[in-house]
């Protein structure tokens, strides 16, 4: 066998012995383009399960927003996504405060009576609770992220490019709306 063939054989053997992606704690690594999405779903308590949802990690990374991160199950994805979107400079509480002090409070809480008669600080607390523990979350196009809370029907969309960092509201058909977002 020629030296070149020996080299190819060694490289092939090394590739076969390398750990697979599935071994790495279920971490998904997808090189993606504009359509990158990461969708997670937290386990539902009995009282929260009103419908059947298939929870799964769909895929990995949002190149449009310039971040690259492992998609993980549970409550870590959303906080990691947000922290990376804020370049490590903020927390879910900061984002919730920014959204609650933006247009969403006047438009959706005052204007539409979302969540009844609550103040801005309660609104911020509610947004943070959704960000901390969403029923489902996904990365969207253009660097935004969406978080859905089944119990209240609230959808929080985090948009780092917006002055008030996004919005929070209860759509007409919350689950369908969340699932229809791209």
């Amino acid at each position: 066998m020629s030296p070149r063939l020996w080299l190819l054989a060694i490289l092939a053997l090394a590739g076969a012995l390398a750990p697979s992606r599935a071994d790495a704690h279920g971490v998904e690594t997808c090189a993606q383009g504009f359509f990158a999405t990461a969708t997670t779903e937290r386990p539902q308590s009995e009282s929260q399960v009103a419908g059947t949802h298939q929870g799964s990690v769909v895929c990995g990374y949002e190149s449009a927003s310039g971040y690259s991160q492992a998609a993980e199950e549970g409550g870590t994805l959303q906080s990691q996504v947000l922290q990376q979107q804020m370049s490590g400079s903020g927390s879910n509480a900061d984002i919730a405060d920014a959204i609650a002090n933006g247009h969403a409070f006047d438009k959706h809480v005052i204007g539409e009576g979302m969540n009844g008669d609550i103040g801005q600080s309660e609104f911020a607390d509610h947004i943070q609770a959704v960000l901390d523990n969403p029923t489902m979350s996904q990365s969207l196009s253009a660097g935004t992220s969406a978080f859905y809370d089944e119990a209240s029907g609230t959808v929080v969309i985090v948009n780092p490019a917006a002055a008030d960092y996004g919005t929070a509201f209860v759509p007409k058909n919350p689950l369908q709306y969340f699932q229809g977002l791209k």
Binding site: G33, F35, T37, K172
Partner: protein, 69 residues
Amino acid sequence: MKAFDLKNRSVVIELSDRELILINNALNEVCNGIDVPEFETRLGGTTEEANQLLREIGKELKKLAPKEE
């Protein structure tokens, strides 16, 4: 967007992924986000037609998304 092959009752349109997402999200807003009074009168189609179009666009976007390995 490029429109070509215009026929009597149809048109073939080429859209970028961003343009298709924009249309998807706009349809999602009127179908599931907000209440649109007089939907058919204002939009020129029923909510069922709009929802069907939204589903079809969603399917196309899924095809464009990279496959999970």
